[in-house]
Subunit: 390 residues, 4 copies
C-alpha cells in the first residue's frame, strides 16, 4: 500500500492563496499526498469577495471554515483573530490528523498554524521565512514562525542563509523561490482587449496601484492613500495613462483607505475588487508601472520586468532586484518617480533585463520534492528541533 | 508630575509566579511603576491549589482573571489555552493600556503575552530568553517569544549571547540572572522543626522529589513517576531518609503522575501540594538531594549548594553548574545516583562550592533599573524591531 | 453609608443603544446606582460608524470592549459572536461584580447577557420580553432570554401578560413601555432647515427608508432592497418627494443590501449612515412616511403619528397601533401603499390620533423606580426562579 | 434513492450519554438516519474517566471533539464552557450540515446546541423539556432550551403539558418517557457476584451513594458530602451494610466533594469512578437504597422499585413517583430515612409496586418514529416557530 501523507494547508486571504495555490496543486497531483485546506479570515468575508468560492472552484477539499476576521479596526482585531483560529484549527487538526501543516508568510494564520503544529505534534512546513523585512507587526511574527516551524521553504537564497543564522538546522531549509512566480510562468497569455473587457475600461498605457495599510501607521492610512491617488491621477491625466486601483487587504486602516478610494473622483482611475488570477497576471504583464507598497513589487515584479514605485516604508529591508524606487508620501516626489518608471526608456530597458532573486517560477516542484523525501519513519527526528543558535 | 509607567505582568502557575514575584515586588516599590497582574491557567484551578489567593495575599492588584486551563490531557489543551488567553488578555490590555507587558519563561502565557504585545503596540519584557534547553514543546516557544519580545532579561550570560546570535539587538538584552534566586537570598531562615510541622512529618535526612511530565513523552508519564518513586523509596528505606514528593505542574501527563503518587504506598514518602514560598525555600535549604526533572535543579539548586539527580531528558541543553547528574529511567541507576548525591561527602563538598551561572540573587533590582531607564519619549524606537540576524 | 447598586449594561448596536440610553441615563442620575457599559458588536466596527464614540460622548464609563462581530455573512456569524461575547463578558462580570446586568431586546447580546447572569449569580434585567413577533432567528431568542432573566420590563401591556403566561412570576414583570419613546419626548425640536443641512439636501416633502435583512430570507436581501428602492424612487419622482435612506443593521444580508443602495442611482434618494439621535428624531418628526421593516415603524412611529409601509414579513405578530400597512415585495403594491400613506389626508389624520400601545415616553423612570425598590437583602429571593408554567 | 437524514447528537458527560445512548443506537439502526456524535466537556477529561472512549467502543462516529470544560471551580466555568462549545459546534455544523441536532437535558451542551441550531437553521430535537425542577442554574436553562428547540421529547406526561403551557405548539411535543429507562429494560442481568468482582468488594446488603454539588450551594459542597457520608457510614456499620459511593459530576463543588470522599475513612464505604453501564444497571438492581441527590432517584429508581433518600434540595419540583424521601443535611435525619428505606418491609413493598411516571423503557423507539415521520419537504414549517403563549 502506498503511504500517502496528509497535508493540511491553511489560508486566510486571496493574496496568500495565490502563493499557496501552485504548491497545493502540485501536492495533490503527486501520488504521495492528500491535501485538504482550512479556510479562514478574509476568505470568508463577503466584503472581501468571499474568496473561499475560488478555492472550491479550484477543486480543493475544505476541511473546515474558521471565522477569524473581526469586523473592527481596533488593535484587538488581529490577536483575537489568532485566538479564534488557534482554537478552531486545534479542533480540525485533532479530527483530520495531518502529517504536515502548510502555511505561507507572516499573517495571523502563519503563527496560529505554527503554534498548533508545535503543540499538537504535527510537522509545520512554512513558506517565506528568513525574510528580513521590518516595519510592520507581521515581521517579528514571521521570525517567530521560523523558530516554531520544522521545515522552511525560503523564497530567496539570502533568506535561506538568514534562517540558518537564526539557528535553524541546515537540513530543514530549502531555497525554493516564491511560488507566486509559478503562477506567472504557468498562466496562459491573454490579450489586453480581454483584460480591458473584464476591468470594464479600455486600457492602453496604464499603471496599477496596490496599496495596503501599515499597522504602525494606521492613523495615516487615509492620508497616505489620498496622496498616492493624487499623484497617480495627475500623472495619468498629463500623460493620457489610466490607473487600475485594486482594493487593499483587510488589515486595520483598510477601511479608511477604501473610503478614500470610493470617494476619489478621477477619470483616469478605475477601481477593482480582487481579480481572478488569469486577469491579474495578464494585467501585470501589460502594465507600465506598479505603484503602492504591495509585496508584489518586490517579489513578483522583477519576473514581469516591471518597474515599481514603492510609496512609504513598507517592504523595507527586503531584497530589491533593482526594479523598486522608494519614495516618501509627497505628491511631487511620487509623480516624478512614476514618470521615470513609466517613460524613461533606458531605465525601463535595464529593468527588463533584471534577474529575480526570488526564484525561477518552479518553486512548487521543489517543495513537493522536498516533502516527498521526508519519510514517515524519520518523523520523530524532524519533530525534535535542537534550538542551537547560528 | 511624575511619569509613572504601567506594568501588566501575566502569570499562569505558581512555579512561574515565584520567579516573577521579586520583580513585580521591586517594581511596585519603585516610584516609577504601577503594577497590575493578570492571573490565568493553573492559578485559577482548585485542583492546583487555587494559587491566585497567594497573589492577593501578596497585595497585588489583579487586573483580570482569565481561564486558560482546560480539564483535558489531550494535545489540544495547550493551544486552546493559548487561544483563551490571547482573547482575554487583548480585552484586558485594551482597558488597562499598559506601557509594558512582563512575562517569564516558555509556557503558554509567554507566547500569548508576546503576541498580544506585538499586535497591540505594548512593549513586551521577557525574562528567560536565549535558554537553549530542548526536548519539550515549550522550547521552540521560548525562542519564538524572544523574536517577538522587545526587552530581554537573560538568566545566564551565555543565554544573553544566544539572544544576540538570534538577531536580537544588543541594547534590548540585559543579563539579570534568574529572579528565582532572589527569593533564596531574601527569604528568612526557618528551622527544620517548623518546616516539619508544616509538612506534617518529622524531617531529618531527606530528599525532595519534583517531577513533571514531558509533552513528548506523555504516554510514559505514569511509568516514569513509578520508577522514580520506587528508586527513591528503596534508597530512603535503606538509609533512613524521608522523601518529600511535591505535586507536578498542570501539563499533559500530570494527571497520570498524580494517580501514581496517590496510590503509591511507602512509609518513607510524604506527598505535598504546592508549598508556600517560605516553607519551600527552607525545605530546599535543609534537603540533601533534589530528584526529578524540575528546572529548579538547574537554575536554583546551585545557589543552595544542592546536588540534583535529574531523571530523564528534560532540562538537557541547559547550562549545568556541575551539580546535576542525568540518569535514565532505571531504578538501579537512579538509586545509585541518589546514593552518591546524598552520601558521598567529597562530591557534596564540591557542589557546596559551586558558583551559580544563573546570577547572584539580585536580578529584580537589575530588571527594575533597566526598565526605569527606558523613557517614554523613546518608546517608538523600542517598538521598532529591526530583525537582523546575528 | 448609602448602598449603591452597580449596574452593568450591555449594548451591541446603535439602534439598541438608543433604547437603552434613557434608562442608563436615568440610572446614573439616581443616587442608588453606579452604571458601567459593556460595548460590543457593531459599536466597535468602523464600517458601522464606530458608535462606541457616541457612548463615550454621552459620558458613560466603558467597563470593557468585547469584539463580537465577525466580518462574515455566513450563518456562523451570530453563534460565534455570542461565543465571543459570553467569554469576554464573563471576564468583565468577574472583575466588576455588578448587582444587575441590563440588556435590551432579542439580539446576540441579550442571550449572552442572560446566560452569563444566570450562571454567575447576577440578577438580569431585560427590556422587551413577551413580544410575540416571529419570523426571525432573534424571536425564539427573546423568549429564551425571558426564561433566564430575573426582571422583565415589558414594552406593552399585552406583552407583560405574555410573560406571565410564559410562567414568569408576576412580581418580576413591570410594564414600562419602550424607552425608545423617551427619546422622542425628551429630544428638543430642531427645524427642518437644520436637519436638511446635516443630511446635505434640502428636504421638504420626504419619506424615510429603513430596511433590514431577515435571517430567514438572507438570499433575497439584495432583491428586496432593490424592489423597495425602485418603488420609493418612482413615487418620489412622480410626486416631488425626497427619500432619506438609512443604512441597515449588521445582520447577514446587510452587505448585499448596502451594495444595492450604493449602486442605486436616483435623484430622489439620499443615503445616510447612522444619524445622531437629535437629527434622527427630528428627521422622523418632519417625515411623511416611514418605509421598510424597522421595528421603529411598530414601536415608535405611533408616537410620531407617522404612517408606515412595512415591506415584507418582518415585524409580523407584533402589536400594531393601526399605523402600519404590510405589503409584499412588489413595486406596484409598495408604491400604492406609499401613496396612500403620504397623500391620503383622511388616513393620515386617523393615524395622528392613534395612541401608542408602547407607553408614554416615561419608561426610564419606571425602570429606575422598579430597580431602586429591589433591596439587597432580598437578592436571594430574586435569584431563585420558580419555573412554574402559566 | 433513500433520503437519509443526518443527526448530530451532542454529549458532554457520561450520565447524559447514558440517556442518549438508546436513542442514537435506535437511530443508527433505522435506515432513515445517519448519526454522528459531538463529544465535549467531561467526556474529554482524564479526571472524569475520559469517557469518550466509551462512545468509540459503542461504535459511533465522533464528528468532532470540543474542549468545553475549564479546570476551575469559579462561576466563570460554565458560561466560558458554553462559549467554547458554541464556537466549536458552529464549526462542526457548518461542515457536517446535519438535518437535526439532538441533545438531552439542561446542561451547558443543551443551550449551546439549541442556540447553534436556532441561528444556523438546523432543527433541534431536545429530550427532557418541561421538567419544572428548580434550585439550580441549570433549571432556567432547560426552559430557555425549550423555547429554542423545534421538537420536544418529554419524559413525563405532565412535562409534555408544561411545554404546551410554555407556548410550544402541540405538534412539536412527544411524550416519549426518559430513554434512561430503556437501558434498564435492555441491559442483560448479571449476578451480584460479578458486580462485586468489578467493584472489588463482596457485596450483599448495600446502598448506593450518588451525590452532586448544587451551584447555588457550592460553598457547602464539602460539608454536605461529609454529613452524607457520616450518616451512611453509621447506618452501614450498625446494620452490616456496605455503601458504594460513586464519583460526582464535574460541576463547581465537585472537587471539594472529591476531597472529602478521598480522605473519608470507613470500612463500610467503597469509592468508584464512573462505572460501565452493564455494571451500573445491575448494581442498582441489587441495591437496597439510593442515597444522594442524583436525578436517577427521581427518574430511574421507580423502574428499579428502589427507595431513595434525597439529601438536600436538588430535584425539588420534579414529579416524584412516591419512592423518594427528602431529608435535610442532618446526620440523624439522614440515618433514619436510610433505615426506613432499607429495612421497613411494608414501605419497601409499596415502592416495588410503584408505576414510573417517566415511561416504560421504550422511549428510544418513540423518538425514532417521531423523527422518521418528519419529512424533508416540511422542514421549513418545522423551522418556523410561532411563539404563541399558552
Amino acid at each position: 500500500m502506498h503511504d500517502t501523507k496528509k497535508i493540511l494547508a491553511v489560508t486566510g486571504i486571496r493574496s496568500e492563496y495565490d502563493i499557496l495555490f501552485p504548491v497545493i496543486d502540485g501536492l495533490r497531483q503527486s501520488p504521495d499526498f492528500d491535501v485538504e485546506v482550512v479556510v479562514c479570515g478574509a476568505h470568508l468575508s463577503a466584503q472581501h469577495g468571499d474568496t473561499q468560492t475560488k478555492i472550491l472552484e479550484d477543486g480543493f477539499v475544505i476541511a473546515d471554515r474558521i471565522d477569524s476576521l473581526y469586523a473592527t479596526e481596533r488593535l484587538t482585531q488581529r490577536p483575537k483573530g489568532i485566538s479564534a483560529l488557534i482554537s478552531g484549527l486545534s479542533q480540525t487538526v485533532e479530527r483530520v490528523k495531518p502529517d504536515f501543516l502548510l502555511v505561507v508568510g507572516d499573517r495571523e494564520e502563519s503563527i496560529a498554524t505554527a503554534l498548533v503544529g508545535n503543540y499538537m505534534d504535527v510537522l509545520v512546513a512554512h513558506i517565506g521565512g528568513g525574510d528580513p523585512v521590518f516595519g510592520n507587526a507581521d515581521d517579528p511574527v514571521r521570525m517567530a514562525v521560523s523558530k516554531l516551524a520544522h521545515i522552511h521553504f525560503a523564497t530567496a537564497e539570502p533568506y535561506a542563509e538568514n534562517l540558518h543564522r537564526l539557528g535553524e538546522e541546515a537540513h530543514r531549509i530549502c531555497f525554493s523561490g516564491t511560488p507566486g512566480l509559478d503562477n506567472i510562468v504557468n498562466e496562459p497569455h491573454i490579450g489586453l482587449d480581454k483584460v480591458s473587457d473584464f476591468i470594464g475600461t479600455a486600457l492602453h498605457d496604464y499603471v496599477v496601484v496596490l496599496k495596503h495599510p501599515l499597522s504602525s501607521e494606521q492613523a495615516d492610512a487615509a492620508a497616505q492613500m489620498r496622496v498616492t491617488l493624487q499623484a497617480v491621477s495627475s500623472f495619468c491625466q498629463q500623460h493620457h495613462f489610466k490607473a487600475v486601483v485594486i482594493q487593499s487587504n483587510s488589515d486595520p486602516g483598510a477601511n479608511a483607505m477604501a473610503e478614500v478610494t470610493q470617494s476619489f473622483r478621477s477619470d483616469a482611475c478605475v477601481f477593482c475588487h480582487t481579480l481572478p488570477r488569469e486577469i491579474f497576471v495578464n494585467l501585470m504583464r501589460h502594465a507600465k508601472v506598479l505603484i503602492g507598497n504591495s509585496s508584489m513589487g518586490i517579489l513578483e515584479a522583477p519576473t514581469y520586468g516591471l518597474p515599481v514605485v514603492n510609496v512609504g516604508h513598507r517592504q523595507q529591508g527586503r531584497l530589491n532586484a533593482g526594479n523598486v524606487e522608494f519614495v516618501e508620501y509627497d505628491v511631487g516626489l511620487i509623480q516624478s518617480a512614476i514618470q521615470k518608471a513609466a517613460l524613461d526608456g533606458a531605465y525601463r530597458e535595464t529593468i527588463k533585463q533584471i534577474r529575480s532573486p526570488y526564484g525561477d517560477g518552479h518553486a512548487a516542484q521543489r517543495i513537493v520534492d522536498f516533502l516527498s523525501a521526508i519519510e514517515r519513519k524519520d518523523f520523530a527526528k524532524w519533530h525534535m528541533k535542537r534550538q542551537l543558535v547560528g
